[in-house]
Amino acid sequence: MRFSVLTFPGSNCDHDCWHALKNVLRQKVDLVWHKEARLPQGTDCVVVPGGFSYGDYLRCGAIARFSPVMAAVRAHAGRGGLVIGICNGFQILTESGLLPGALLRNRSLKFLCETVHLRVENASTPFSRLARGGRVLAVPIAHGEGNYTCDAETLRHLEDRGQVVFRYCEEDGAVTPRANPNGSLENIAGIVNQAGNVLGMMPHPERVCETEMGGTDGRLIFESMLDALTAKG
């Protein structure tokens, strides 16, 4: 399978994603500079990585969404291609309108860098299909603006259509206010679009793909994508 990891000025998790996909999962990976108007031929999945694109000026992700490569990402998503946005990548996808809602400043106003637990709420997406529903993953977060919000109608659609893929939870899977690190609506940590091929999540699965890095739960997400792509042929 072939992955395109985007690099914007200020991206800082692009090489982590590249490493996890290339060296751990043994896939073909291209780093794609944001000025490119096209994705490499044969791209199966686009990774919009974390970081501080354009210095988070104006709003996180607000300027990156106008980069030339984003038109190609939109077209790829429109064809049903997989897109995963992690952290700043999630912010870029909401700013682009590829995912609903927005990410606000953390309720505590603090930058949070810690491991959180995520409950898999929908195990039928291409990003979670190797999980059983209710499975709990330990994945780190590192963000100042990860407080997911949307209006009441959008929330109802997300819930009704199973678009909430991950929720912040306790180690045992209980979804509680205490387990919510940033004030996100309904403990939302990751969502998919209505078609189910675009995922945005604040936690960083690429950072937990090897035991040396403190965990391997992140692999489940990438392996699910590989499984989905293989099944699709």
Binding site: L58, A62, I63, L104, N106, L109, C150
Partner: protein, 86 residues
């Protein structure tokens, strides 16, 4: 020359954690009657209005706000255009 003065704030329905922290700070400074604070952004754009009507500039600034300067999912914007010396 036209100066566009633009204010962007979080919508009333969206919690503004910075505003809450500011109002708490003001309380601790001895201003308990501050009921709430909202923090926003102020932008100034200098626009060359030669050959452009005020209505056209008005429509353009609205478009800039909708597409980039504000995220209308969470933010509210308002602006005014003011003639200034070139």
């Amino acid at each position: 020359m036209i100066l566009a003065k633009i204010h962007v704030t979080l919508k009333k329905s969206v919690l503004d954690p910075q505003g809450v922290a500011i109002s708490e700070a003001l309380h601790s400074m001895g201003y308990p009657h501050v009921e709430s604070a909202r923090l926003g952004k102020y932008l100034e754009l200098r626009l060359d209005d030669r050959g452009r009507s005020k209505n056209e500039l008005q429509a353009q600034v609205k478009d800039m706000c909708e597409r980039l300067l504000a995220n209308t999912v969470i933010e509210h914007y308002e602006f005014e255009l003011q003639a200034i010396p070139s």
